[in-house]
Amino acid sequence: MTTAHDQHDLLARMSLDQCVKCTICETHCPVMAVTPKFPGPKFVGPQAERYRHGDSVDQSLDYCSSCGTCTLVCPQGVKIAEINSQARAVMKKNHMPIRDRIISRTTLLGKVMTPIAPIANWKLSLPPVRWFIEKLFGIHRHAPMPKAGSRTFSSWWKKHTPPTPTRGKVVFFHGCAGEFFEVETSIKTVEVLEFLGYEVVTPKQGCCGLALQSNGLFDSARTHVNKLAQQLNIEPGTPIIASAASCAGMLKHEAREILGMTDPTLTAVGTRVRDVCEFLLSLAESGDLPLDFQPINQTVAYHAPCQLKSQGMGLPALDVLRLIPGLTVIDSEATCCGIAGTYGLKKEKYAIAQAVGKPLFDKVIEVNPHLALCDTETCRWQIASSTGAEVHHPIWMIHQAYGLG
């Protein structure tokens, strides 16, 4: 069997020589700030990597949450988070916890939970059940769990009658959470795109494998990415609009930079992927976005997820939301919510993840304890579960401001 180190394209590893030990990554690492168990991205990343040669030299690496903040702020282009993710896959290869194999299969969870949604959601809300799950699998009893919807996005899509399009086509990429757990976000995204006049094409699609990747299950993650890239590779030249910012990031760059994938179909798809707010902002900039929004007289906090920030495109949701009259959007300015995909679910990391997210939770409660906005699913679940606020994708506001319901 090939290891990640055999396969990855060495881009990340080669970047370690660019590290000048300036410490900027350390000052921004949200995990290092709250626990001495993680010695920080510089130490675990470019420094320890020199000693690895495909072996594991330092178990503290497991405490990296892969939020990617280090790579984002690095002024020298060191792929710190990518180096760490690759090294973790090697470290966990021969002793992957069963838990990590389960929680990384989002589609499977959705398929199991959706048909029995009320029972599944109820069971997962019971403390004894959660205690049992914690003991058996190591998923913390208080960690946020997705709530299955009673319908899938596909079942809505099949029954839905689109209006007559007045602009071109777009391909819609909802991701597996958008199929099973965040169905309303998927529906609202389609409705906004159709309101703007686009013909929305929605191919059958699976999971992007992000949770598999962040848990070090690289081979399975690559299989998922390849399959998804083929599914989305329709309507050449049209934008692929994503309502799941982290899954968009997987196709845009993480599959290449972390999994070392250079498949031409993936590259073709990756260059076409646009986060939905990124797409709307580009329309606004070219004068093609109707700005006759209905006012929304509210103040809300917006949190930009790490995996959106790591796409290096600024905060498009913030820019678009600020076009809505009456709406005051406060940037959370927080580094990370702590969940980092599945990190904050894990028994041994739950407290760290809560400490990481605390400044954000405080900010949300201070700005508006009832509603906050965030572009990715697991971050929304984390913020909601730790603040009690409803947390929506920014597209909900745009949907509302266009008077779509």
């Binding site: 900027i24 000052t27 001495p36 702020v73 020298q76 990031g249 920030k309 940037d331």
Partner: protein, 411 residues
């Protein structure tokens, strides 16, 4: 939607962004990573040394300095512009830096040297008292009170006595980042334990020198001064620099308050231009390249340390983004054998007209692009490290570029 694109989020880029945005411009700030301020000493230099002699009053010496260095960036600005820019900048720091009394401060470093610098935080002002306690913390490396005390006795002619205290910022951690101490000292409980340790350790010295770790978000310095009932001085340390981080945080906050759109984490890798006009710059984002357009571009990419200037293995120096013509690059002795001597390499850079637009050294009358302004570390003709002039060049050139753009807008 963008009037001006600013490239680089260091001192120059942030200064230009804030100045333009507060004047009503829509600014997009593109930065590959975080700028260099968190690595800086957290004070602002204008002119620290001339001919190896420390400068007492930079603006008194400025006209003489400019006369002696006609190719220096300060010669393209003017003493008045530099002074106006520095005074405007002080206001942006919301009290982090205290207003100047027109003279340099001399502040201690972690090696025990007294370093000239112009604007300082109140926590670094060196009091005029005879006896100092220098207090190190065993869990913080690169701050050795014995070394500092001995050197300060030599360099500052004061009495010093070194002390150590033993107080982990976090239980069980033997080697903590200054950031962890600063965060810990933001907590009143830790602060009072810190005070107790110091009180139990030091003697009746008149003032206390501590590593620059006194709080990131709170004014731990004032509380400590009050608790110890004598002046407390923060000593500049190796990075990460808490005073530098405070300054960076404040400037980024100010920029965002004025509506500057910050795009962090992608590198500007190319541009499109007509004969003398930059039409767009290309940002290498995740997944693809994206163009950004604005009426003007301010380029504050820094010098060699950030890769805006590169040297190949033949000693050929190049500006990496726009391939701008460079001054001072065509000589064989770019690096001399003496470490302490000025290195001609560091004077290599871009030259500009008085509005900060790039010109060809051979044809200095006409800007190469009428909407491309270069500021900060890219400018040719300075030995920033030796002169201690880098911050002043960054602030004044950025301010001047912004004024040129705003002046153009107004006319």
């Amino acid at each position: 939607m963008t009037d001006t694109i600013v490239i680089g989020a260091g001192l120059a880029g942030l200064t230009a962004s804030i100045r333009l945005a507060e004047s009503g411009q829509a600014v997009t700030l593109l930065s590959f990573g975080e700028g260099g301020l968190p690595l800086s000493q957290g004070t602002i230099d204008v002119l620290g040394y001339v001919e190896n002699q420390p400068v007492r009053a930079p603006f008194t010496e400025m006209s003489g300095f400019i006369k002696a260095h006609p190719d220096h960036p300060y010669a393209f600005l003017s003493s008045t512009t530099i002074s106006t820019a520095i005074s405007w900048f002080t206001d942006q720091t919301a009290g982090l830096l205290q207003p100047s009394d027109e003279t340099n401060h001399f502040v201690p470093t972690a090696l025990g040297a007294m370093r000239p610098t112009y604007l300082v935080p109140p926590s670094m002002v060196f009091p005029d008292v005879p006896r100092f306690a220098v207090v190190g913390i065993q869990q913080i490396k690169d701050f050795s009170p014995g070394l500092i005390a001995e050197n300060l006795t030599r360099t500052a002619n004061i009495q010093t006595r070194p002390y150590w205290i033993d107080l982990p910022a976090r239980p069980g951690e033997v080697d903590s980042s200054p950031v962890h101490y600063a965060q810990a000292l933001d907590n009143p409980d830790f602060l009072s334990r810190f005070v107790d340790k110091i009180v139990a350790t030091i003697g009746d010295e008149d003032a206390v020198l501590l590593p620059a770790i006194l709080g990131l978000h709170t004014d731990a310095h004032s509380r400590l001064t009050e608790a110890l009932q004598r002046p407390v001085v923060e000593v500049i340390m190796a990075p990460p620099s808490i005073p530098g981080i405070r300054l960076n945080n404040q400037l980024v906050k100010r920029a965002k308050e004025w509506g500057v759109r910050v795009v962090l984490g992608s590198k500007v890798t190319g541009f499109t231009a007509t004969k003398d006009h930059i039409t767009s710059v290309t940002l290498h984002q995740a997944g693809r390249d994206q163009t950004y357009s604005g009426d003007n571009v301010i380029y504050g990419g820094g010098g060699f340390e950030s890769g805006a200037l590169v040297v190949d293995s033949y000693g050929k120096v190049r500006e990496a983004l726009f391939d701008l013509p460079l001054a001072g690059a065509d000589r064989l002795d770019l690096i001399t054998g003496d470490y302490w001597k000025p290195q001609p390499l560091f004077e290599v850079g871009v030259i500009v007209d008085p509005s900060m637009r790039v010109v060809d050294p051979g044809k200095p009358k006409k800007p190469i692009y009428h909407n491309l302004y270069v500021v900060g570390g890219l400018l040719a003709g300075a030995q920033r490290w030796i002169e201690k002039s880098g911050d002043g060049i960054a602030i004044a050139s950025a301010y001047q570029a912004a004024e040129s753009i705003l002046g153009g807008d107004r006319s």
